[in-house]
Structure formats: C-alpha cells, structure tokens
C-alpha cells in the first residue's frame, strides 16, 4: 500500500517523526498482542524497573470497592484502629469502616479504597479479595422479583 507522499512523489522531504511512527505501527502489527510489545519495550528499560512494569498488579473495580459492607459503629471497640492510617475508628464521630469479604479484616473505607484501586490483596493477610467475590455476591443477593436481571 502506498502513502499519499509516495504517490505524489513528495517523499524526498519525508518527516522523520512520521517514519518512526510507521515503524512503531509495523512493530505493533507484527507482534499482534500488546503483551508481546510490552515485553519488547520492557527490554529497553533498566532491569530494576522491568519487574515493576510487567508485574504491575491490577486493582479492584470501583464497583467492588463501593459494594464493601459497612461496619456498624456499635461493633467497634475503643482500641480498634485502622492499620493503614493507624487512627482509632472511634476518634471520628461518624467512622466509615468497611470489612473485606472472607478474611473480614476492617479498614477505614477512605484508606482501603486507595489501596484496592491498585491492588487486589488484603493489606493484613494478602488474601486475594476478588477471588471470593461470587460467594459474597450470592450471600448478599436479596430475593426480588426481578432476581438475576440487570440493567
């Protein structure tokens, strides 16, 4: 396939940036998948940073974080504190504390939301919080007439 420039014979003053872009496009198409391309690009950066780039863990979806069950204030003791900010829940008159599924570890929503936006693990026990999602969903489903219907 020829470009406009080739057809009109104007390629003598070709744009280096356009050439580079074309090269990258070819590279991308040859590799097919973005994972392969990522691998290739990763080789160009220092080893210490490669690991970070390739192992970058995906966080939890916002809907998951929003659906975490809130802990009732009456279920909190004076000494209970969030292990992320190290502050007692009851220092706040309206503490917004949530519980993770399965491991039941508690945190301030504000604190754990930031962490879960980039990780899937419980800060305290490293449990993969998303792995239990189906079970939790089933237990929380309210029996309604439009059961199982969404949207």
């Amino acid at each position: 396939m020829s470009t406009y420039e080739e057809e009109h014979n104007t390629s003598s003053n070709s744009n280096p940036r356009r050439d580079l872009r074309a090269q990258i496009r070819d590279l991308y198409q040859e590799n097919g998948s973005s994972a392969a391309l990522l691998q290739l690009l990763a080789q160009l950066i220092p080893e210490s940073m490669q690991e970070e780039l390739l192992n970058e863990k995906e966080g939890c979806p916002e809907t998951f974080i929003d659906s975490l069950p809130r802990v009732n204030k009456r279920a909190m003791k004076r000494t209970d504190a969030c292990s992320i900010c190290c502050c007692s829940y009851l220092d706040d008159t309206h503490p917004l504390v949530v519980e993770l599924p399965h491991c039941n570890h508690r945190f301030d929503l504000e604190c754990v939301a930031v962490w879960l936006s980039k990780s899937r693990t419980c800060p305290l026990c490293r449990d993969d919080v998303l792995s239990h999602k189906p079970n939790v969903d089933v237990s929380n489903v309210e029996l309604e007439e439009d059961w199982g219907m969404y949207g």
């Binding site: 690991e51 900010c85 800060p123």
Partner: protein, 149 residues
C-alpha cells in the same frame, strides 16, 4: 511543605518510645520523611558485632508505597548490592500498607541473619556464596569488622 500524615508522626513517636531491639531510626531535622537508621548485625550471623548505617525515605505516597531503604555502610551480602540497594520482597512487590517502618527494618535485620544467594541482587557475591559458602562468610565477617563499626 505539605503537613506530615498522622501515621508518620505516630510511627516516629513509637520508634522512640518503644524502640526495636538492635535498631534505631531517627528522622532528619529538615525532613521528617528521611530517617537515619542503624541496624546491629544479628548474633551468630557473619554480621555479628557490626553496626550498619542505612537511610530510609518515606515517599509522598507512603503507606500506599513502600519506604525506600538503602545501606550506607559497605556490606558483603548476596541480596545487597554495591550501592547498598536491598533485594527484599516487602520493599517491592510484597509491600502492604499495613507494614510499618519498624516491620520493614525487622525484615532487613532478618535478611542479614539469613542471606539468600538464590535470589541475588549482587550477582558476584551470590556466586561466591554458592561456590564456597565458608569463604564468603569469612569475607562477610571481615567486611563487618572493617566497615561496620
């Protein structure tokens, strides 16, 4: 300068009031996120009787991001390189915001007690360690005597 999060203030206070045995950590006067750290070499390790200086920095995203820790004292260890950088899972992929300065420093101290040449950062040291462990341990002792006073 942005105000220091309450957590950092609490951690700093506790490091002073309830210090970890064999470990000291003091914030710098001008920058309360920068700590001067010393770790005593664990007993029955090649680093025994040595006192190692380290620097610890809490990045802006701490505790969502791990502290940056580096040895300032020269040390012969397969998981610590020439620049003092440390190969330790909790400082990288296994960081959790429930960990603290004290737990991180305890992990570093534990790393001194059990070097792991199969996951090396200093490749030449790790090779020595695997090839002739007794010799490597002797060298680690020697460096401890020379540099970790």
């Amino acid at each position: 300068m942005a105000s220091l999060p309450k957590r950092i203030i609490k951690e700093t206070e506790r490091l002073v009031s309830d210090p970890v045995p064999g470990i000291t950590a003091q914030p710098h006067e001008d920058n309360l996120r920068y700590f001067q750290v010393t770790i005593e070499g664990p007993q029955q390790s090649p680093y025994e009787n040595g006192v190692f200086e380290l620097e610890l920095f809490l990045p802006d995203d701490y505790p969502m991001e791990a502290p940056k820790v580096r040895f300032l004292t020269k040390i012969y260890h397969p998981n610590i390189d020439r620049l003092g950088r440390i190969c330790l899972d909790v400082l990288k992929t296994n960081w959790s915001p429930a960990l603290q300065i004290r737990t991180v420093l305890l992990s570093v101290q534990a790393l001194l007690a059990s070097p792991n040449p199969n996951d090396p950062l200093a490749n030449d040291v790790a090779e020595d360690w695997i090839r002739n462990e007794d010799e490597a341990i002797a060298k680690a002792r020697e460096w401890t005597k020379l540099y970790a006073k």
